[in-house]
Symmetry: C2
Subunit: 325 residues, 2 copies
Amino acid sequence: MLQFATILAKERPAINRAVDSLTNSLPEHVRPAAAYALGSGGKRLRPLLVVLMARAMGCQDDGVYALGATAELFHVATLLHDDILDNADLRRGRESTHRRFGVPCTLLTADAMFSRAFQALAETGDPRCVSCLCRAVIGTVDGEIMEIDNQGRTNGLEDYYKIIEGKTAYLLRASCELGAIKANADEARIQAACDYGYNLGMAFQIVDDALDFAPSEKTGKPEGGDILEGKFTPPICYYMESLDPESRNAFRSKFAALSFSEEERAAIVEAVRANGFQERTLRLADTFLDKASNALDRIAPESSQGVRAVSVLREAVSFVRNRAS
Amino acid sequence: MLQFATILAKERPAINRAVDSLTNSLPEHVRPAAAYALGSGGKRLRPLLVVLMARAMGCQDDGVYALGATAELFHVATLLHDDILDNADLRRGRESTHRRFGVPCTLLTADAMFSRAFQALAETGDPRCVSCLCRAVIGTVDGEIMEIDNQGRTNGLEDYYKIIEGKTAYLLRASCELGAIKANADEARIQAACDYGYNLGMAFQIVDDALDFAPSEKTGKPEGGDILEGKFTPPICYYMESLDPESRNAFRSKFAALSFSEEERAAIVEAVRANGFQERTLRLADTFLDKASNALDRIAPESSQGVRAVSVLREAVSFVRNRAS
């Protein structure tokens, strides 16, 4: 963990400078809300993936930071639209951007952020950079709309996988792909980068959905919130499958109507814990983390800097796994 | 006018096929709302500008239609976000997309449409195509936020010009630029294309703002609606300047508070008409139309097809002017 934290601390200032520089290039009426949203102390995970993957594949160029900044703009722009749709008052512990700047300004600012990020990618002169992020944004949106459509539905895990691909995995995959493209990697290594990012993202979201059943004091979030919101995640799926047919039908109706009482929610949380459905969900995440790890084996770094970057990317795999322990 | 109408009727099927093809390439959960929004019988003005400008500069390639389709996606995506912000129930006489598909799906679908259009531009392999549309979208957003910020303000026409540049002129300019790029035009002709589109767009919006004071039976819209909405347009500016200092201050306060009564609105409409402030606004539009016309003189088409396209573009100038007569 030490190495991961060290690298993060070391790279973050350069990433933040690149994000600031991109933000400052936005026009006058867009800049304030964008600067507020981007300055909220995010982890900068996506830019870090861009930088590390490029380094792993032998890229020495400091242009990776500017490229990483675009991934952060995409990420934060999607969060701005999400928070508007969720009517969220807070983001990362402070007032959400649309509460501060109003919905019209925030909605439009996110549009400008998308466009500015695409422009920066176009300026690299490599159309693959634009294409890879376009695919990611379109996939993200498709996943988000599918999540809305599927609220209250108990359609099995196939739909769930498609939703979390969109919500989380596609942008992490694109971040890794961007780094590999920047390093002029060959097709096989670009694919390895994509596989790493995709599987890391899938695992990240699955662990998140297992943590929905962890004690509030650990996560700072209500326990079993997904039950009330009608999000059909693996622990909920395993729970439903464990019920006899009659109880299962009753569960389905209440889940569809988003009508569980506080007591019912608490009882389901209890049952998920007692039956080890959290652990079973984490084992599911492990299958994706194993694939992420295997993808790293195909990178074969050629410099000591590359070896170091791969080892940090490998630590990120443990980091995702260990969030839940 | 006959030639313009003929060309429109002739080109529209090919443009619509390209728009449909781009729409059908959107993923499953995005496609229905996008197809609904794009199928609403728009004029397809922006794709037509792409096609005509490319033809004017000697491009024979039918790839212009796909390029034109991207301009329509950008335009309609901005309309979707605008309609959400304006809480509009209708668009082009039918139920607005967010009323039909819900705000979350519509807001996100527009994001996917932006991204899909950028992707199509990236696939041309010419980074100038992406860049030119990125600049246009960013400028559009900047203008829209400025319009919101300026509501109720009486800051003079400089701010007004900046707002309508964003709202209308930048995307028309980009459409013309796209056509010129597709035709492999040199810098001077690309600039001529930009100047034409920009000035046509400025004039179009100014004529629109003059028409706000035309009789309802002609426009189908309330007379002087901009007075109530706090939009400081040229006729309103001329009216305010015609007042004595005391009345001007009273006007300013009411305009800022959006608090004009029905009777006051009607009296202002009357005064604008009686004092010829509509005609003065149209003369302002004429200065932009003259510039658009001059820009066409610099295109110097080299084929009979090019000559024909330029003459249609010249008719578009008269068309904008004649909307108000």
